[in-house]
């Protein structure tokens, strides 16, 4: 019996360590899955390119992005977008999405088409402000759409002086 539990100890040690060490080599199904993933990726790219060219030609295209800087004074729940008086997007964020924004990612919130000329964008941000209170703020941008794609960025940042969040809308050339 004594020998048995010593053998068991060896088994336990192997169990402890084997799940930690990486293993090399790839079975054939792995290789097939890898090849397939690459092919679907290539196809996916072609389809996205086709979709964008078909639905959002460069001359009329407008894209609206959201980014966050710091986020100490504001926890984002949702963003509502109005373009020329029409609701075009109402987006609720998950924890994973706000974390991705806080790490420096930029979300493409809306893609659409606009004629050349003057337009108005209104963004309404809701979430929790300082001290966990409900917070709702808007930001507006009047902009001119010319021929060619138009990028607009909605930025949420912290204003250290006032200890309040700041909401900014800016055009990208």
């Amino acid at each position: 019996m004594h020998n048995k539990w010593i053998a068991m100890v060896a088994v336990m040690l192997t169990c402890c360590s084997s799940v930690v060490f990486a293993e090399g080599g790839e079975p054939s199904i792995d290789k097939q899955v890898q090849d397939l993933k690459q092919q679907v990726l290539n196809l996916n790219r072609e389809l996205f390119v086709l979709e964008e060219e078909l639905l959002f030609p460069a001359n009329t295209q407008v894209m609206i992005f959201v980014s966050m800087d710091v986020g100490k004074y504001f926890a984002l729940d949702s963003v509502q977008l109005e373009l020329d008086g029409k609701d075009v997007s109402n987006y609720l964020y998950t924890k994973r999405e706000t974390e991705a924004l806080l790490r420096g990612g930029v979300q493409r919130l809306y893609t659409g088409n606009l004629k050349t000329g003057e337009h108005e964008l209104i963004a309404i941000f809701t979430g929790k402000g300082p001290n966990g209170r409900d917070y709702r703020r808007g930001a507006t941008l009047q902009f001119e759409k010319t021929i060619g794609a138009k990028f607009v960025e909605l930025t949420i940042s912290d204003h250290a002086g006032s200890q309040q969040p700041e909401f900014d809308v800016r055009e990208w050339d």
Partner: protein
Amino acid sequence: MNRPVTIRQVLLAGALVLVTALSWAKKPRETEGLVIQDLPYGQVLYEYYKEDYFNALTRLLVEEHFERIPDHAAEAELLLGGLYLSYGLHEQATDIFERLLATEESDVVRHRAWFFLGKVLFQRGYLKDADKALQRAGDALPEHLLAERGSLRAQIDIETGKLGAAKGLVDEWQLADDWAAYAAYNLGVALIRENRLPEAVSYLEQIGQMEVTSEELRGLRDRANLALGFAWLREENGEQAKIALERIRLSGPFSNAALLGYGWAEAASGNYREALVPWMELRERQEISPAFQESLLAIPYAYRKLNANQQAAAGYDDAIAVYDAEIAQLDGAIAAARSGALIRSLLNADVTDFSRWNWQLGQLPDTAESRYLYEVIATHEFQTGLRNYRDLMMLAGHLDGWHEKLDIYDHMIAARRLSYARSAETFPDDYYGADVAAYRDDYIATEARLRSIEQQRDVIALGTDTEQRSWETIARLEQGGVLDAADDSAIAKLALFKGVLLWDMDRDYKYRLWQQQNKLAELESVVADLEQSQQRFSAEVAAVPVRLDEFADRAAELDPQIGELSNRVVSITELQIKALGEIAANELQQQKERLKQYRAQARFAQASILDQSASADGVVQ
């Protein structure tokens, strides 16, 4: 024996998977605070930070196609390689890092490329090449990559048996870093395997007693104490073993093994009565685990050592009954695994969020067979297969989505064709074009008139309206016979006035000609712009059917590819399910063999008790 799956069992399986995933599949902490110069690049990072590698990869490839990330070219290439690596496409990742190293001159990029190349080579099992690449990455990497580099190099040394070198690397480290903690743990376990316990102790004690704030590191701390405890047991040092095992959380995923080990530690010191306490607790838990199964043998073993043979015999009876029932259940589970039913029921209970690459099962289906899967699921081989399965499901979802979308786009293209045809019927052919041609004619006539004025030096033609009216009046007076009745002084005045007028017009001629030529050039520019607009408009209009045809052709070309790849996804998924079934069946078979061994030992011990009892009674001859 049909026990329901307890919350603890679910936690145990989840925690095992978690620890497995966090060891070497730990995601890199990317450079944060990067200044985004092209918004689409930020969008790729957003997908990446969400751990949605497939969409991040697609987005990056699409943005590169549209040339929308010109200011992040080198970073984008590095990210592409990193994404391929994260998505399990190691060959593509290797190609990218090698290409970057061949073409990129920036030291920052080259250092990172060497690092990621080393990482991908490590994952592919090329340990020597991986180590060379990691060494070439140098020490100028960002802090988080330096830590991971150290961890990888230590692991390579461990796996190639260079434990001294691994010790050198780990000893240089500050243990505040997570990577360092993992490296020290792995080194400690490797030293135990080499029977170098005194050296292992220092590393495992550091991990086993470290202050932690995250669940991940709590798990690692438990594992270190477990490894240390059993290592001391192997040395028959029960007292040291108990110290390590006591540090393991009673509610954690390693508590069963800790209880079992603690009992053996007491037994090693001859404290069989004390050994029964943790073993009884373990038996009460009634969880399917090697520790529980082992406890069924350990309890009667302790009773026997305490000369409580009757209780020992009863304990062996219980153990044999449990083993018999478990073996029968395992037979059913093995058959279900081989037929694919077990895996399908497991996969049907899978969570629906396929986008994350590292994941855990939420809950196992509550069936008799699935209770045995907790051990199976924790294995690396099963995890790899399960990850493939999830990737395949995600690919199938994408392909189905595109199939539906392409149907919609086909209808959209048809609608646009119809709309164009109707517009062409209602719009006149010279729409927009006629006015532009008239402007061009006006320009040509004006240009000819000005050229004629210049050739003839027609100063009068460029006179002001007043001058021209005066000139015409003089001409009328000269030609109409009015001067016949005029006196000489009037004629002289008229001649003087005519001379002054002509002199003035001649004096201003060059300036006026220059002015007119400028205006003509402006007119030419306006007409040319109009003509260009008209040409663009005409080209746009004419291109509509061509473009629609092109879209339709591309969609028609892509649609069958979707179908073909969907079929391949289905067939490879079937292969993967079958392979998972085989892995499960083999693992379950091992569980069964272990139980059979336990049962044999129980029977042997039982016979031995009977034999001893019979000898004592003087019955045996």
